[in-house]
């Protein structure tokens, strides 16, 4: 990535793009749980050191969705489940109606350009009555159109528009799938890892100021 400005204070160059370390799908369900306790070990594991998550809720979900949910894990005490993309809405709805996860905190995505399923799509949920927070995660390839969660949570509207704006993930069935923070005529999706800020800057100064480079 052209615009990755590595800090001078960094003791060693970070190899490749930051995507390298996590670009290995799929993650093993549970690595050694102890590795989370030593954060400054010289060689950090390349995958998240999760522990399995088991509770009455996971049992309920397992019996209801079976293979559609591929993983129940916990990292640093925060629970999340990995769902197949086509089942996300059903899981969200089930969690809302049957388990009281009635507050959709956030929807966001993470880009792993080297992975076949390029994006992590993450739904953060909270339940007022249980005072519990979980994350629903799914992995989708570029171009996949996940179903909009607006039918389950009204608040998904702007959050999905922002994900579209920043990552170019279009949601099926969204009432008005258009950009929200950037102007409608904007080219590209900035939070994709292959979107270079410097290239955008260079293009702009070339078109508008007639100079080669701006910085």
């Amino acid at each position: 990535m052209a615009d990755e400005q590595k800090p001078e204070s960094s003791p060693e160059p970070v190899a490749g793009t930051p995507g390298d370390a996590k670009a290995i799908p799929p993650k093993p369900p549970a690595a050694s749980p102890t590795s989370a306790a030593k954060p400054h070990a010289p060689k950090a594991p390349a995958v998240m050191a999760t522990t399995p998550w088991e509770s009455s809720l996971t049992e309920l979900l397992k019996s209801h969705f079976g293979d559609s949910i591929t993983e129940f894990s916990s990292y640093l005490g925060q629970n999340f489940l990995v769902v197949r993309p086509e089942a996300v809405n059903a899981v969200l709805e089930f969690l809302k109606l049957e388990a009281d996860f009635d507050y959709l905190v956030d929807i966001t995505a993470v880009d792993y350009p080297k992975r076949a399923e390029r994006f992590d799509l993450i739904y953060i949920l909270y339940s007022y009555s249980r005072n519990e927070r979980i994350r629903v995660k799914t992995m989708i390839p570029d171009g996949y159109r996940p179903k909009s969660a607006t039918s389950v949570h009204l608040g998904a509207d702007w959050l999905e528009r922002e994900v579209f704006d920043m990552f170019g993930i279009e949601f099926d069935g969204h009432p008005h799938m258009k950009r929200i923070l950037l102007p409608d005529e904007w080219q590209g999706h900035p939070l994709r890892k292959d979107y270079s800020i410097l290239d955008v800057d260079r293009r702009w100064v070339q078109e508008n100021l007639g100079i080669e480079v701006g910085q």
């Binding site: 995507g19 996590k22 989370a36 594991p45 050191a49 640093l76 905190v105 993470v110 608040g155 950009r179």
Partner: protein
């Protein structure tokens, strides 16, 4: 239209902002009107978009810390606290007690400052000019404490990952205690000006109602949710920085209208003073920094950590790939999510109410647009 006269009403689309004093920044609202009644709105945002999340991916954990202050710039301390807590969670470190107490004091002072600016501008929007002068006068005292503590007034960058950069200055406790003593009667003074003021009440009561169910459906948090009768505050629900040790109440009201949100925020300022007073008694000598490596390289993983900012739930979702830079920083901004409910609140209201409703959500566009 056949047989129509100039008196026949039809729908009118009116553009409000982005350059409009009561939009509190650069917010553009497109209103669809029937006469003076609002039948629908659409927000156009993004004028202040600076790509904070993209910047985060291109900076180290330490370098990114000052940037978060620039989102909700009237509550910069809260932004910083949330970010530090999230990175500390990734690193599995905890700030030492002295740092935590200091954080609580500064964050609560900042909550007061944020609410004061909200009160002053909200009242100004509605036509009451005087409160602004009073609230800015008291806010100044808070900013002076910030300035004496860390040299900055607004974008303070007061905290560091693992604790604090600066030791408390001599006389900090006295300054804060003096502020608390001075401030409590001032809240009564504002209330005297406004709470029973007939114009104020008429303009706020029953305006922009958002019920508890609607709040939950839209994900609205903070004082807006509490004014609808939900006693939910992250400081109580999932305490951080030792908030569980403090004795304070969550003010709630039942109607969920603009007036109730006003009352809730007034009461919150009093509760903040209560917390600060308790925190002052808890300051004990000790280290202000936890053991944090010089180069911060959290292990591979992802966390979501959120705090109760003055506007609602402020969350950070950070993905680490084990390098010195975050792989992804997602900010869950309370203003952005709360603003989404504007349409619901404005439907059926009058044009003049839109101004009151924008004020009552208490948005900061720096945070909406990031």
């Amino acid at each position: 239209m056949a047989g129509s006269t100039f008196l026949d009403s039809s729908e009118l689309v009116l553009n409000m902002g982005p350059q409009h004093p009561s939009t509190h920044g650069v917010l553009r609202v497109i209103l669809k009107l029937d006469g003076e009644k609002v039948i629908g709105t659409e927000c156009v945002i993004g004028y202040l978009h600076r790509g904070v999340e993209k910047i985060g991916e291109n900076r180290t954990y330490v370098q990114f810390a000052p940037y978060v202050d620039r989102m909700d710039y009237v509550a910069a301390v809260s932004n910083g606290l949330g970010y530090c807590l999230a990175v500390e969670k990734l690193l599995s470190v905890e700030a030492p007690p002295r740092a935590q107490v200091t954080r609580v004091i500064l964050t609560e002072l900042n909550r007061i400052a944020s609410h004061l600016l909200w009160l002053g501008t909200h009242a100004l929007d509605i036509g009451a000019i005087t409160p602004l002068f009073y609230t800015l006068r008291e806010r100044e005292e808070v900013l002076k404490i910030f300035e004496k503590y860390c040299g900055a007034r607004l974008t303070t960058h007061a905290f560091r990952i693992g604790g604090l950069q600066y030791e408390l200055y001599d006389g900090f406790e006295e300054d804060v205690a003096k502020f608390c003593d001075m401030f409590l009667p001032k809240v009564d003074e504002y209330e005297e000006l406004l709470t029973d003021n007939r114009i104020w009440v008429e303009r706020l009561k029953g305006v922009g109602i958002l019920t508890a169910e609607q709040c939950k459906a839209y994900g609205v948090t903070g004082p807006v949710l509490r004014a609808a009768g939900v006693a939910w505050d992250l400081r109580k629900a999932q305490p951080y920085s030792g908030y569980e040790q403090y004795d304070f109440d969550i003010p709630i009201r039942q109607n969920g209208d603009t007036f109730d949100r006003y009352i809730v925020r007034m009461e919150e300022m009093r509760q903040s003073v209560r917390i600060i007073r308790q925190a002052l008694e808890r300051i004990e000598p000790g280290p202000i920094m936890a053991k944090v490596p010089k180069v911060i390289k959290p292990p591979v993983g992802e966390v979501y950590v959120s705090i109760e900012a003055p506007k609602g739930e402020l969350g950070y979702f950070i993905v680490s790939d084990g390098s010195t830079q975050p792989y992804r920083v997602r900010v869950r901004p309370p203003s952005f999510v709360n603003l989404q409910a504007l349409d619901q609140m404005c439907r059926g209201a009058l044009v003049a109410d839109v101004v009151a409703i924008i004020g009552t959500i208490d948005i900061v566009l720096g945070e909406v647009d990031r």
